[in-house]
Symmetry: C2
């Protein structure tokens, strides 16, 4: 079954307490699509990526994504430079400072879903203005399973648009801080219940090193993070989680409560590979066997 | 099978953002014993409690513990006042300020294990100076399964004694902050691995609202906290976790890896009842049916 990923591609500059990289491939849709590709079977179509890049976007990066299994047919190039973002992490990894944001071509991002992508069964709306996410979703036909991400900025400046979007999606994925901000509830269980009242049938709440939980129709499942001891760069981990999650659903064409639980493990595993390298450097070297092995490990850690 | 609990009893004064109580029954051994009693079967001997109180200790509190199923035969009364502790919680529950500590009779705590307790199969050494914990343990015969708690103070002022104790116990239970302080590792998986190198065969790492994990010989299991939405007072939750955990092991006389996993759920459930009231107010009103029901809930939340 087909998975559509709509969102940003970027060049990131990342600084950690013991290393740094400049202008490495990033962007939420890129992370998600590459992670999802790892989940899909070889005979299944790759995740369809819709995003906008500038004229400086490197052909080798397009080639890398294609090799990783991503369908890059929905990449659009606009005059100007690719979106750039800079961030610095505190040594405990829990605090991230945005050092700069250059929207560049993304400032006027108006995603076009190619005709041959409009039949997608699973859709991930990566972090973007909720009105943009909605416009993108309206181009998809049928009755896809839709997961959307958001961020503090949109909760702050585009809450009404976000509330409209929330009524049209199957699931919202957000982190603890965003959930508290969106709902005003500090208890995360209450916050998740409050999100569900806003419309989506499911909410996935990410808690970084403390794992994640999904709550919604017929499902409440909580699991720890994969026990990674060599974190290199957490950038993109949340998007890789979404990619692993949606990739697992699309692979099995199943979003039953049981499938949602299992997909939470796949998301966690994808995120764990992500944080072990800069950009998708570690992720793209992983095989299905690596993924399956870590899935089994995690399953044994979180199953009675 | 028999469970021995050695540690403090206290009168606590607790202040939260919307309520307060003065001189309510507390103390780590009290919390642990009452929680463990809930786990044991009606035809099993109650948890044996060894602790020291002052002349002001109320007979109604002794009676309450007895009614809850605790064997209070090891309670010793000394001239002077019972240990007193005061604490205040920030609204997010994650920060606790100690407002005062009056050691009183506890200053010279030198636990005496009664002869008829010396055959105990399971022993919990509640938080105390590690040299005191060791002296208590030396009075127990045979080859009991021993879990010990500790705190920042002892890591700071009695590290050598703690290191000696660590070589003589089966498990250490501590929270994230204590684990980082004891090992110098901020990554909790690395911290747990480091604790294991110090001697105990198992380490239980508590993360408050984020749950807990156990790591050690043939076992690595992580689980979320029970989703409580009406926290009243978190005091004693960690000791109730230990009580639920040890109570489950003693009930089934089993500390196999499978039993340790299951006992982590029992500990989590006991802690969840604890935080829903001041002192052991909610815990003592719970039946085995309440406990079993919450165990099943939690099992469904954390099992694939």
């Amino acid at each position: 079954m087909s998975l559509l990923v709509i969102g940003t591609l970027a060049y990131d500059s990342v600084e950690t307490h013991n290393d740094k990289r400049e202008n490495i491939l990033g962007g939420s849709a890129m992370y998600c699509a590459v992670a999802a590709a790892l989940l899909l079977k070889k005979d299944q179509p790759g995740p369809r990526l819709v995003g906008l890049v500038g004229e400086d976007f490197k052909s080798e990066d397009v080639e890398m994504m294609r090799k990783a299994g991503v369908d890059v047919g929905g990449l659009e190039t606009a005059p100007g430079k690719t979106f750039r973002w800079g961030g610095r992490y505190e040594p405990d990894w829990n605090t991230r400072h945005t050092t700069f944001t250059e929207l560049n071509v993304i400032e006027h991002f108006d995603p076009k879903v190619p005709d041959n992508y409009k039949d997608s069964d699973y859709v991930f709306l990566a972090n973007a203005h909720p009105a943009v996410q909605k416009k993108a979703l309206e181009q998809v036909n049928g009755n896809p399973f839709v997961l959307a991400d958001t961020m503090n900025l949109w909760i702050d400046v585009a809450l009404d648009d976000l509330k409209v979007l929330l009524k049209e999606i199957d699931g919202l994925i957000l982190n603890d801080e965003e959930a508290r901000m969106l709902t005003g509830k500090s208890n995360l269980i209450l916050a998740a219940q409050e999100v569900l009242k806003m419309g989506p049938r499911h909410v996935i709440l990410k808690k970084g090193e403390h794992g994640a939980f999904i709550m919604g129709e017929d499902v409440h499942f909580s699991l720890p993070a994969y026990p990674v001891t060599d974190v290199i760069d957490p950038t993109g981990a949340g998007d890789c989680f979404a990619g692993g999650f949606m990739g697992a659903l699309a692979r099995d064409c199943d979003h039953s409560p049981r499938a949602l639980r299992s997909a939470m493990l796949s998301g966690t595993v994808a995120a764990s590979f992500c944080v072990q390298g800069f950009s998708v450097g570690t992720l793209v070297t992983r095989s299905r066997e690596h993924l399956d092995s870590r899935f089994e490990d995690l399953s044994s850690i979180c199953t009675l």
